[in-house]
């Protein structure tokens, strides 16, 4: 079975902190994604990557950056966390016919 692992289930960070969310997949997928999930808004795409060191902005990239130095790992970075970035963050990896999701990281910025 494909496994997508997010390093933390719950995080609490302070405003202004630099935050790293890590995601690792074990199936050699080229495509990886970061979404944030908010009630009533569904999943909104922040960034995606289609290969090592390659990235593209999604629909809501402001305030975020990403890093993909190795194929299996895709990191989401909040350069200076703000309270409006409190959310559930979901990582996914995709082959053409299916996307596999991690369990999510619930980030609270105080």
């Amino acid at each position: 079975d494909v496994k997508v692992t997010q390093s933390s289930r719950y995080l609490v960070k302070r405003t202004g902190e630099k935050v790293f969310l890590e995601c690792v997949q074990d199936m050699d997928h080229e495509n990886m994604f970061w979404y944030r999930q908010d009630p009533g808004l569904g999943l909104r795409l922040i960034y995606f990557s289609y290969d090592v060191k390659m990235k593209e902005k999604g629909d809501i990239p402001e305030g975020y950056s990403v890093s993909r130095e190795k194929k299996e790992r895709f990191s989401l970075i909040l350069e200076s966390a703000s309270t409006n970035q409190t959310s559930m963050y979901l990582c996914a990896s995709r082959v053409m016919r299916e996307a596999f999701f991690g369990q999510g990281t619930r980030l609270t910025v105080v």
């Binding site: 999943l43 995606f48 995709r94 053409m96 299916e98 996307a99 999701f101 991690g102 369990q103 999510g104």
Partner: protein
Amino acid sequence: AQSVTQPDIHITVSEGASLELRCNYSYGATPYLFWYVQSPGQGLQLLLKYFSGDTLVQGIKGFEAEFKRSQSSFNLRKPSVHWSDAAEYFCAVGGLGTNDYKLSFGAGTTVTVRA
């Protein structure tokens, strides 16, 4: 630009009754279409997917969906709902091309099942 619309934010259905969740998409070419389910506190689970061929696709847990190109729709159905089907359901659209990786989701439909 690709997008997904799920017109129903919340649906309440009686156990044993039928369920239909609506999904409309916008995409410039032939899409990949997906339905995912998220139970409370859980991750997203794939229910079913459509790429080509038969426009009626069967999924897990007794769900099916029908692709209607003329209506740009991919509605999800279940003939008889169980209490365990209470969850949030997401429709998604993605590209077929090797340079089109983006997967876009709708806002979701929350299903409540009453006894």
